[in-house]
């Protein structure tokens, strides 16, 4: 009796994580990847965000919430409707896909607009198998809407929350922002490097988010490199750090 009351108190005070069994089921994570949810737009850098940029999958909280951030205080910005989220144009049939960083047995998926449940998919207590794709019926809605998408996992008290902004049937006022001009990360060349006249053929300074063909030559840190295979350059894949992609010449 005493133990039970104590356990109940603990459960009330600390949601979700305490209930996790010790082996094999610690943190499950997931979010709606398509249409781009607010979490996905943070990761895509469509909208500048803080913590969700690197952890779009972690809007975790106890089941039964109706928000975009779960219980994550540092994800609060996901609830800010004025942040310039891009709304996806759709008809009344909307296909939603999910991305998971951990695979957990699933109770169900729920979709809400203004407190009404517009979609429900039973998870059958099974682990998700990609692609996880659901079709939601948005009949009766038009214009800009915010869909609360919820992944209720089966083996802890936790759920994962994603908000999807849509514009149904082109009705209503257009979304406040289209793609902000900040979509592409800056790819500007540092102004202090080599003058253009001394560049090797088809060269230029290596820059992240640039598409390079095999054989392309760049300079980086005073050295010249030749691209081994076609790829889009990324911060972290600088030529000296990605010998598999760049041959020093």
């Amino acid at each position: 009796m005493k133990l039970t009351r104590k356990a109940a108190l603990v459960m009330a005070a600390v949601p979700a994580i305490v209930l996790v069994t010790p082996v094999g089921s610690a943190s499950a994570h997931g979010y709606v990847s398509s249409p781009p949810s607010r979490s996905a737009q943070c990761a895509q850098k469509t909208v500048p965000c803080g913590a969700p940029t690197y952890e779009p999958q972690s809007a975790e909280g106890p089941k039964g919430l109706m928000n975009c951030n779960g219980a994550r205080g540092d994800f609060d910005e996901l609830n800010d409707d004025s942040k310039g989220w891009r709304a996806t144009s759709t008809g009344t049939s909307l296909t939603v896909s999910w991305t998971f960083t951990a695979r957990h047995r699933t109770r169900d998926y729920e979709y809400y607009i203004n407190g009404s449940r517009v979609g429900y998919v039973n998870g059958n207590n099974a682990a998700p198998a990609d692609p996880v794709r659901h079709t939601i019926n948005l009949s009766g809605f038009s214009g800009r809407q915010k869909i609360f998408a919820i992944w209720n996992i089966a083996d802890t008290g936790a759920a994962f929350y994603s908000c999807i902004d849509v514009n149904v049937n082109g009705g209503g006022t257009p979304p406040p922002t289209t793609t902000p001009p900040t979509t592409q990360p800056p790819t500007t060349t540092p102004p202090t490097t080599t003058p253009p006249t001394t560049q090797p053929p088809a060269g230029g300074t290596w820059a992240a988010n640039t598409s390079y063909a095999a054989g392309a030559q760049v300079t980086y840190g005073g050295s010249t490199y030749r691209c081994r295979q076609a790829h889009t350059a990324l911060t972290g894949w600088e030529p000296p750090n990605a010998v598999a992609l760049w041959e020093k010449i």
């Binding site: 010790p22 082996v23 094999g24 089921s25 610690a26 943190s27 499950a28 994570h29 997931g30 990847s33 398509s34 249409p35 781009p36 996905a40 990761a43 895509q44 850098k45 940029t53 690197y54 952890e55 779009p56 999958q57 972690s58 896909s97 999910w98 991305t99 998971f100 960083t101 951990a102 695979r103 198998a129 990609d130 692609p131 996880v132 794709r133 992240a208 988010n209 081994r228 295979q229 076609a230 790829h231 889009t232 990324l234 911060t235 972290g236 894949w237 000296p240 750090n241 990605a242 010998v243 598999a244 992609l245 041959e247 020093k248 010449i249």
Partner: protein
Amino acid sequence: MIAVAVLALAGCGGGAAVPEAQQQHQQGHGHGAATSTAPPPAATARFNDADVMFAQMMVAHLQQGIDLAVVAKAMATAPKVKELAGAVDVTQREELEMLKGWLKLWGKPEQPSSDPNVHAAHGGMPLLDAKVIAEVKDRSKEEFDLAYLNLMTGHQGGAVEMAQTELKDGSNPETTAYAQRVRDSRSGQIQQMLTLINGQ
């Protein structure tokens, strides 16, 4: 240049690790990557448990990512998906050999001391296994790209989480610098893959 690599490793007291590491490297890269430039510096001897855990978990994580990327190189329809899978494949092979070399120098095994799933809290290890990779191979041509992109986006999201933990708790300078590159390059891949998922 190979001599430079040998010296760099031997200088940290791990000379015995060199031949095997180089042999694996050559097996991993048909085109002989990593022979024209010295590899990233060998890790120094100062390290803590977080560094070891990160390196061990990344060894398993990198191999799973390579297995999945190899499937995508063969099966993906969209050229951009194939291209990214190809770059992930070769860069992760390079990273894998580097981390194996570090663990050898530190005298630590390549596997964590217990079931990797125990460490799921460090960043979602249980996402990919042989069964999941076999399942994605069975997808129709129409479904494959979406299934792969969502899987790989989630998988690399796990790498970002592990890197964040290492940046917070690690002490070895080469390992934390590598964690920074993991965080940046994987979040860059996620950005690209979400764009591909959404057909933008």
